[in-house]
């Protein structure tokens, strides 16, 4: 696989620059390396202010804590590049956590079939959204908002607002185990990121996702099966949501319908900070990876600094606005 043809077709916003004067070079350099720079600055800042921040165990902890957000962000990146949105991922996560816990605890299903069944449920929920959005052309914003409500409501009905405890000990390996020095959950996140990256950069499906997101009409004329592409991205997102739910249930060894209520915010933030355009047609997984880490560092750092959850919510909101603003300025200068 030489991959020459696809190595860097400028799908990131950085490569869009039109002029090549000094100022635009700086601007495009900013949008290319700015994210990494921002992450490094953030780590330096938190290392200085929070004393336990820059330790190996805390770094691993950050990876662990970011894993379910990262898994969902990988799925959402594909959806957003395709110029759609999925507002239901966080609720599908809760649904997944509740279902896998119930299967293990109440119905005594062995671990592997229980996990597989949960993932299939995620695929089905994503598939329902995909069919409505892709075939009946219902705006994803409305449809996945409804799906969000359905999944959250379903999870609540299944558990009756109770927490489910006492899951089989072996199940903890997914969310609490380690592979070498790395938390298993972070390894799973890494695999999902890698898969999403390969799909986007190395397969026809990836080209189609960018094509549909960038110019849907032209994609139809060119013989792209637009419905199949939209169905796929929403199915993939549903799958990622359910997988995140399994990871979360295993990490906490418990499940509750309202857990992860505010995760949608972090997931969207990770993708948008990562540079994917909400207008579709551009974005990269590497951006989302960094976006996820930035969000995770902020959460973790604010925790270490003893800042309450409500203020954290405020901080994340402000950071999204900042990220979008920087992106806007970068684009304006390179345009």
């Amino acid at each position: 696989m030489s991959g020459e043809g696809k190595a860097d077709s400028g799908r990131g916003s950085a490569a869009q620059s039109g002029g090549y004067s000094i100022s635009s070079l700086i601007a495009s350099g900013f949008s290319r390396y700015g994210l990494i720079l921002a992450l490094i600055l953030l780590i330096v800042f938190l290392s200085i202010t929070a004393e336990n921040f820059f330790t190996v165990s805390n770094m691993m902890n950050i990876l662990l804590q970011s894993s379910n957000i990262g898994i969902m962000a990988a799925g959402l990146t594909l959806v957003i590049i395709c110029a759609e949105i999925d507002l239901s991922v966080a609720s599908i996560q809760s649904m997944g956590a509740v279902v896998v816990a119930l299967l293990l605890k109440e119905y005594g299903v062995p671990i592997v079939p229980a996990v597989i069944a949960t993932l299939i449920l995620g695929v089905i929920l994503g598939g329902v959204s995909g069919v409505f959005v892709g075939w009946f052309a219902i705006p994803a914003f409305i449809l996945t908002l409804a799906m969000d409500s359905l999944a959250r409501g379903g999870a609540l009905i299944l558990t009756g607002e109770q927490s489910i405890f006492g899951l089989p000990e072996a199940f903890s390996v997914v969310g609490q185990g380690y592979l070498g020095p790395f938390p298993m959950a972070a390894v799973i996140m890494g695999v999902v990121f890698l898969a999403a990256h390969l799909i986007l950069s190395r397969t026809v499906l990836g080209t189609n996702i960018y094509a549909v997101g960038g110019n849907k009409e032209a994609a139809r004329v060119a013989g792209v099966n637009v419905f199949a592409v939209k169905l796929f991205v929403l199915v993939f997102s549903g799958f990622c949501g359910a997988l995140a739910g399994v990871v979360m249930a295993s990490r906490l060894m418990a499940a509750q319908a309202i857990m992860g209520m505010f995760d949608l915010m972090d997931v969207i933030a990770a993708v948008v900070i990562g540079g994917a355009s909400l207008l579709g047609g551009e974005g990269r997984i590497i951006g989302t990876v960094i976006g996820t880490l930035i969000i995770a560092c902020i959460r973790n750092g604010l925790n270490l600094l003893g800042i309450a959850a409500d203020w954290q919510l405020l901080a994340v909101g402000a950071i999204i606005i900042l990220a979008v603003l920087l992106d806007y300025v970068g684009k304006k200068r390179t345009a």
């Binding site: 696989m1 043809g5 696809k6 397969t203 080209t207 960038g214 994609a219 060119a222 013989g223 551009e282």
Partner: protein
């Protein structure tokens, strides 16, 4: 209102005392991998039409964009009305009185004509209070709009919705807008490529009116006849260098082509033909209410069939429907004598059809994707075909070297000017984007190739190359359908020409009997 020039320009070495409104001196511009402009001098006198000519990728649009302030020049000097413009920006050039008529029009489609004309500088009510509150003086706007239209000889209703205007009327509105903004120089980059013959005449009339007012017009086009007819002076670019500037009355088409390409062509519109075989496609009573009705025709393998007609005759709609992009209300399609149902483009491609759209920007290119992906996307999406040609492996995994090979083949065959296959297609010049789409259209090995304005924006030399490629296909037995508004083209390259008017077929001529006059008579519906 002119921003004060910071310094006086250096006097010209040749000391020419010619009066120029706009003087571009020694302009240089580099993009990664290409020198788009290399020390080009270009000046515009008041009241002249100055044609900018050159092959695809010669640097014409880059020059226009630099003047318009959209692209920054690397070297050189821009002098406007005697003052050096140090830093150019779109806002500044507009302020100076330089207007660009872009190919993609920038009108607000949901507003009426007069509001578009005054967009951003509405005439306020004469009543001071109401004026302060931003109440518009509709009557005054309508009056002023009519004045400008009359002056330019434009016949458009100031109260019509822009969305209901024809393409040429929209273009006139753009020009009127420039005049309303007191433009001194108007730049037109391929303004005629979507106009029919009649509309083109009207445009030329308007341009003449502009020059009478002392406005300098810069005109870019690949139709050499037009350039000679409308131009006062012609500047030729080749590979970013200025080859020369001559008066239009002192030159002819052959000279211009030699200046542009360094070569001569025996024939600009060669007669091409293929190996005629069995009938492959029959369309019977195709109808879409209000768009086209009762259209029937047949095509043989190896035949080159032309569709002529005025813009709006329904030709594009007809073939969009045939290709599954639109639902017809009635009619049948037979391929190799078998009835087929085509509901979507994928069905059409399965049945061996391919379609090159005329609307490059909206229905053709993926601006953010690479040249390679733009070229191969259709093939990629037909898995078995693309695996057998070593483009993809299992699960749609792209085989990088196979894909690079094949696209490099096409790039060479069609002489597409591109620095790297991984460049975004938006970086190519217009004509080269068109060639990439043509390559996409023929890449699938279709047996029936439908081309809607295939040489739109393509230079004279490349046109001949495209005709040769069509001939090769026809020799292989491929049926080719060409929709074209360029009469010399359609009468030369097609074996047979069907003419449409207002959604109906009004005539059919063989190449032997085809002349512009007959076709125009059918096209305007004035044939007996």
């Amino acid at each position: 209102m002119t921003p004060s020039p910071s310094r006086q320009p250096e006097s010209r070495p040749d000391g020419a005392a010619e009066r120029l409104i706009l003087d571009m001196r020694g302009i240089g511009k580099r993009f990664p991998g290409v020198v788009a402009l290399d020390g080009v001098d270009f000046g515009v006198r008041p009241g002249e039409v100055h044609v900018l000519l050159g092959e695809n990728g010669a640097g014409k649009s880059t020059m226009i964009k630099i003047i318009a302030g959209v692209v920054e020049k690397d070297t050189g000097e821009m002098v406007f009305e005697g003052g050096v413009i140090e830093r150019c920006s779109p806002a500044l050039t507009r302020e100076l009185g330089i207007s660009v008529i872009h190919q993609e029009l920038s009108l607000v489609r949901l507003m009426d004509v007069k509001s578009n004309l005054f967009l951003g500088r509405d005439l306020r009510s004469a009543n001071r209070l109401l004026g302060r509150l931003g109440v518009r003086d509709e009557a005054a706007m309508e009056r002023r709009c009519r004045e400008i239209f009359t002056e330019l000889g434009i016949e458009v209703d100031p109260n019509a919705e822009v969305l209901n205007l024809s393409l040429s009327d929209m273009q006139f509105l753009e020009i009127a807008k420039a005049v309303a903004f007191d433009a001194k120089v108007i730049l037109m980059d391929e303004p005629t490529s979507s106009l029919g013959p009649g509309e083109k005449e009207a445009l030329f009339g308007v341009i003449e009116r502009l020059t009478e007012r002392g406005i300098g017009v810069v005109y870019v086009s690949h139709t050499l006849e037009d350039c000679l007819a409308i131009g006062d002076r012609i500047s030729v670019l080749r590979d970013g260098r200025h080859v020369g500037t001559i008066g239009a009355e002192n030159t002819d088409i052959d000279t211009l082509i030699r200046m542009m390409t360094g070569r001569t062509f025996s024939e600009r519109y060669p007669r091409i033909s293929g190996k005629m075989g069995e009938e492959v496609l029959e369309v019977r009573n195709f109808t879409q209410t209000g768009v086209f009705s009762d259209v029937s025709f047949r095509v043989k393998g190896g035949e080159i069939l032309g569709f002529a007609g005025l813009v709006g005759a329904g030709r594009t709609d007809l073939f969009r429907a045939l290709f599954g992009l639109e639902r017809p209300d009635g009619g049948e399609v037979f391929i190799d004598g078998e009835p087929v149902r085509i509901r979507k483009p994928r069905d059409a491609i399965h049945h061996g059809l391919s379609f090159l759209t005329e609307d490059r920007k909206n229905q053709g290119v993926f601006p953010l994707l690479s040249v390679l992906e733009n070229l191969l996307i259709t093939l990629f999406n037909f898995g078995r075909e693309s695996r057998s040609r070593k483009l993809t492996r299992l699960l749609g995994w792209v085989n990088g070297s196979g894909a690079t090979h094949l696209s490099r083949d096409y790039v060479e065959r069609l002489s597409i000017k591109v620095a790297s296959l991984t460049d975004q297609i938006a970086q190519l010049s217009g004509g080269n984007q068109q060639k990439v789409l043509l390559a996409r259209g023929i890449s699938t090995g279709a047996r029936i190739v439908i081309l809607d304005e295939p040489t739109k924006g393509v230079d004279a030399g490349a046109k001949v190359e495209i005709y040769r490629i069509l001939e090769e296909l026809a020799q292989l037995g491929v049926a080719i359908i060409v929709i074209s508004s360029e009469l010399p083209e359609i009468t030369a390259i097609c074996n047979r020409i069907i003419v449409m008017n207002e959604g109906r077929i009004t005539g059919e001529v063989l190449r032997e009997d085809a002349d512009a006059e007959t076709i125009m008579r059918y096209a305007t519906g004035t044939a007996a």
